[in-house]
């Protein structure tokens, strides 16, 4: 953090709140995420004026209205594109994208994957509730097969995306998953995402209590979460379970498999390493689950360095100016030769 930010640590959560009424359904997971983000910004000493939230359309995308920072409520699916332009033009800003599973993965899929491969310096928070909330309950690209919704009264026939796999296939440098209800974990992931230079993709499982209530119960609910949360901890063996009794190994076919530690021995258990240049480890982990239906990794799958789009763009500008000096219009107009007509 810079000097300037240090000075402003006196800010509180209130400083990040606006006077606009928060308009989500009572009980919606979005409230918790809003609080987590606001608290995180306070903790990080963020400057409201340097912070921008860009969203698409959806319940989640109302988020910027509630943040007393700069913000734009855009159009459906296009937030990553808008944010890319802003981040590339203004590398001095902290640009966040707020999006939903429909917004980012249905209509906005293309901008999403391109922002990731370009490694634009954006923090993308995808509120995945596995449903279209705002339009009152159609299935989304993360809804499970067979899902009965208004648009699929006989069950959906689309195989869903696994957002983590998709992001990894799209060359993302930072990929993580967290849970709306787990505030400390959300804070931890936000911290790492914020510190990451480049595109940081954070999938947040978010409960839509009106149209898809308890979709994540198996992983977030008290009764089952210990069984089903595989916490990814950098440098630590991939173990989980109420007694930490289970673990992950990689087979000779590159596949991640759940084993009982006692059966294979502690040494066989793979150690998590999000910093590997090769995304195969992260990808294999992402295949352990295709959604909140059993043991599921939570945390940072991948976190590697790669030059960012905006900084390379700035470098090319600086290099051109060094080479050619600042632009000279008179010379520009004369490129390619001129002639003179005498009076």
């Amino acid at each position: 953090m810079t000097e300037a930010t240090k000075e402003s640590t006196a800010l509180t959560r209130k400083d990040f709140q606006t006077d606009q009424e928060v308009r989500w359904c009572p009980g919606c997971g979005d409230y918790t995420i809003l609080a987590s983000v606001q608290n995180f910004l306070v903790e990080a000493g963020a400057q409201p004026e340097k912070t921008v939230f860009i969203s698409g359309i959806g319940c989640s995308s109302r988020f910027p209205y509630y943040m007393n920072t700069y913000g734009m409520h855009g159009i459906h699916g296009r937030a990553p594109a808008i944010a890319t332009g802003l981040a590339a033009a203004r590398p001095d800003l902290d640009v966040w994208v707020i999006t939903g599973d429909g917004d980012a993965l249905s209509i906005g899929g293309n901008h999403f994957i391109h922002a990731l491969r370009r490694n634009v310096d954006l923090k993308i928070l995808l509120f995945n509730n596995q449903i279209y909330g705002l339009t009152k309950g159609q299935y989304s690209p993360t809804s499970e097969e067979g899902k009965v919704t208004k648009s699929t009264p006989f069950g959906s026939i689309d195989h869903p995306f696994n957002p983590i796999s998709l992001a990894l296939g799209a060359e993302a440098t930072f990929v993580a998953r967290t849970l709306d209800s787990d505030r400390p974990h959300t804070a931890e992931v936000l911290r790492a995402a914020h510190a990451h230079r480049g595109a940081a993709f954070v999938e947040i499982w978010q409960n839509c209590n009106v149209f898809n209530d308890k979709a994540f119960e198996l992983v977030t609910g008290k009764a089952t979460r210990d069984q089903n949360q595989i916490r990814l901890r950098p440098g630590e063996p991939l173990r989980f379970g109420p007694e930490n009794e289970k673990g992950i190994v990689f087979t000779s076919h590159g596949r991640a498999e759940i084993v009982v530690v006692a059966e294979v021995g502690q040494d066989a258990i793979a150690v998590h390493d999000a910093h590997r240049d090769d995304p195969s480890l992260a990808f294999s982990l992402s295949r352990l689950s295709s959604g909140p239906y059993g043991p599921t990794p939570i945390g940072i799958f991948r976190q590697v360095e790669r030059p960012t789009y905006d900084e390379q763009m700035a470098q090319q500008l600086a290099a051109a100016q060094e080479r050619g000096g600042p632009g000279d219009l008179a010379a520009l107009y004369r490129t390619g030769g001129t002639w003179t007509v005498e009076a």
């Binding site: 913000g71 734009m72 594109a81 800003l93 901008h111 219009l329 005498e342």
Partner: protein, 627 residues
């Protein structure tokens, strides 16, 4: 048409030199024959010589057709003169045809008596067949109406290139330089600029450079020595205003205009585009000028390009996105958002033949109504159009000015003809432009230190407050909002009010743009109204009609939305209003609707510009029809 004057021969040897006022030369050949390059070089030589000129490059399909086919023919027409001209010429005086397909594709455009120079080496069976000739037109008498000069350009080129060590297949490629040399001789063009350019461009590759040079000279010498051509011609320098000139095409002028607009506004340029013919070259050109602080981004598609530009606009940049028709369609939703945000965003649409993929390399003016109305809801956007290649420069600056001064997206229309056509352009002095520095909001403008993003000034313009400025934090979005605060509002009356105020803001731009000026005969009964690239053809057409005794006046619109405030009054003064357009009557429909004037349409949708003759004869027809 070339106007012969008295034959004057002041040069001692060789053929007599006849002086002409203007000449139209068309180089035509296979896509692989380098006709665009030949035309470019000939243009520059004519420009350096001091002629006024207008060019018309005409590409074939987008990808290279098999050599020798009609589909593969590429041509470049140059019109040069000793006076001020406005069109690339109606019919070529000289056609250079490098192969049978080029002959076949172009011959119908020539008036009887015109000159045809063909590369006779290419007129062999296979090529004739590919071009669809049953018999050899050089032999079957079908070209009797023309003055045909068969010249074995390929073999002559191969011959001279042998001396510089070029192998035949390599040497062949220089045959366009032979053609260039020959035509340069015919019209007394200097070859020095071409010699210098060749050295600069191919210097490193000696064999190529030298065979080009050898071919160029061989062509010249062939004219000089072979007793084939009866005369050579001269077109004197034009009486252009004194000054320093260059040749410029519309895409380059647009790119330069954008860079200049950034400087005048005092903000960096951000261009996000997706490549598309014929607009890509603006992206290419701007990508080269990063030392001006110009950022360019090749986006994943046109939606992303418009979105990224809008993001950069939010960040305080002069945001631009360039495209052609299909891309304009895709940007429409983002444009609506820009209207709702009231954010400056410059969209350049280089119109091409539509609908759909249509004729991607050809010109048309059929996107005007899409620019006006191509978005759901009430979303008025100013529209500005350029009239000549060089005019793209100042017109795009005007479009950018309106965008940043009035906080609005603006659509700037050019077309394929302007984009690739070129004309002499007097180098402007950057010091003489009127700057329009943007002043961003720096202070809260509301009570209790609040920032009100939709508090309007007397032109109804809102402030532009940038992320990074402490104290101005605010949110904007596509939902309807209250005026002044920008807070989301579903209040019925507010929505009605906001639609009207956004419309009024655009209408008021009329106070900030020049009145239209009438050219031609002010007392005429006939007014010809045009926009965009038809300017030259209309102007030349009306001059031609005038020579036939038909008076008429001309108004050419740069601002299509809003219209200049005196337009109604000007229209009222004429009995007949004619609108020539490369569409089915789009501007005419706007004039009819707005002013209830019975504007008539002259349509042409052939992918090529109007000729002066087409305009002239329509005006003459109208004059005759009148009681």
């Amino acid at each position: 048409m070339a106007n012969d004057t008295t034959a004057v021969d002041e040069r001692p040897p060789g053929r007599p030199v006849r002086r002409l006022e203007n000449v139209v030369v068309r180089f035509a050949g296979d896509s692989g024959d380098g006709m665009q390059l030949t035309g470019d070089r000939f243009t520059l030589a004519s420009a350096v010589f001091g002629n006024d000129l207008v060019t018309f490059p005409n590409f074939p399909a987008e990808i290279r057709a098999p050599a020798g086919t009609l589909a593969g023919v590429s041509s470049f027409q140059v019109h040069f003169s000793d006076y001020d001209i406005h069109t690339p010429g109606d019919a070529p005086n000289v056609l250079v045809a490098m192969n049978p397909a080029a002959l076949r594709a172009n011959i119908d455009d020539l008036a009887p008596g015109s000159t045809v120079i063909v590369n006779s080496d290419a007129f062999e069976e296979r090529n004739l067949h590919k071009a669809g000739y049953e018999t050899n037109p050089l032999e079957d008498g079908s070209l009797e109406a023309y003055q045909v000069y068969p010249v074995p350009m390929t073999s002559l080129t191969v011959e001279v290139a042998k001396d510089v060590g070029a192998k035949p297949r390599e040497a062949e490629r220089s045959k366009n330089f032979f053609a260039l040399g020959l035509v340069s001789w015919m019209y007394s063009r200097p070859i020095e600029p071409t010699v210098a350019w060749n050295e600069e461009k191919f210097g490193k590759n000696r064999t190529v450079a030298e065979s080009n040079l050898a071919a160029l000279k061989a062509g010249w010498n062939f004219g000089e020595t072979a007793e084939v051509f009866a005369a050579r011609f001269e077109v004197e320098p034009a009486h252009l205003a004194a000054g320093e000139y260059r040749s410029i095409n519309g895409n380059t002028a647009t790119a330069y205009g954008i860079i200049t607009a950034g400087q005048l506004a005092g903000i960096p340029v951000f261009l996000a585009s997706y490549p598309i013919t014929p607009a890509s070259d603006i992206l290419h050109e701007l990508a080269r000028h990063k030392n001006f602080g110009v950022r360019t981004m090749q986006a994943e598609d046109e939606i992303a390009a418009a979105g990224a530009a809008l993001g950069a606009a939010f960040g305080g940049h002069l945001a631009v996105t360039t495209t052609s028709g299909p891309g304009l369609d895709l940007k429409s939703e983002t444009l609506g958002l820009a209207v709702q945000l009231e954010m400056p965003l410059l969209v350049v649409d280089v119109q091409r033949g539509g609908p759909s993929t249509g004729l991607p390399t050809k010109t048309e003016q059929a996107d005007l109504l899409a620019a006006m109305f191509g978005r759901h809801g009430e979303s008025p956007i100013p529209v500005v159009a350029a009239r000549t290649p060089g005019d793209c420069f100042s017109a795009v600056i005007e479009a950018a000015r309106i965008a940043v001064e009035h906080m609005t997206p603006v659509i700037f229309l050019t077309d394929g003809y302007l984009a690739n056509g070129s004309e002499p352009w007097m180098i402007p002095d950057p010091e003489e432009f009127e700057p329009f520095p943007v002043s961003f909001a720096t202070e809260p403008n509301g009570p209790d230190g609040s920032f009100l993003p939709y508090l309007r000034d007397d032109r109804l313009v809102r402030p532009w407050g940038l992320p990074g400025t402490a104290g101005l934090e605010h949110r904007i979005g596509g939902l309807e909002h209250e005026d002044v605060t920008g807070n989301v509002s579903y209040v019925p009356e507010n929505h009605d009010y906001m639609i009207r105020i956004r419309a009024a803001k655009i209408e008021r731009i009329a106070d900030d743009i020049p009145l239209v000026e009438v050219e031609g005969d002010p007392d005429a009964d006939i007014l010809v109204v045009g926009w965009g690239s038809t300017y030259g053809a209309i102007k030349a057409g009306l001059t031609q009609a005038r020579e036939e005794g038909v008076q008429s006046a001309q108004v050419h619109l740069r601002h299509l939305n809003p219209f200049p405030s005196n337009l109604a009054e000007v229209l009222e003064r004429y009995e007949v209003v004619l609108v020539p357009e490369m569409n089915t009557g789009q501007l005419a429909s706007l004039l009819r609707s707005r002013f209830l004037v019975d504007a008539r349409t002259l349509s042409k949708m052939q992918g090529v510009p109007f000729t002066a003759g087409e305009i002239a004869s329509e005006v003459e027809k109208l004059a005759k029809e009148r009681p």
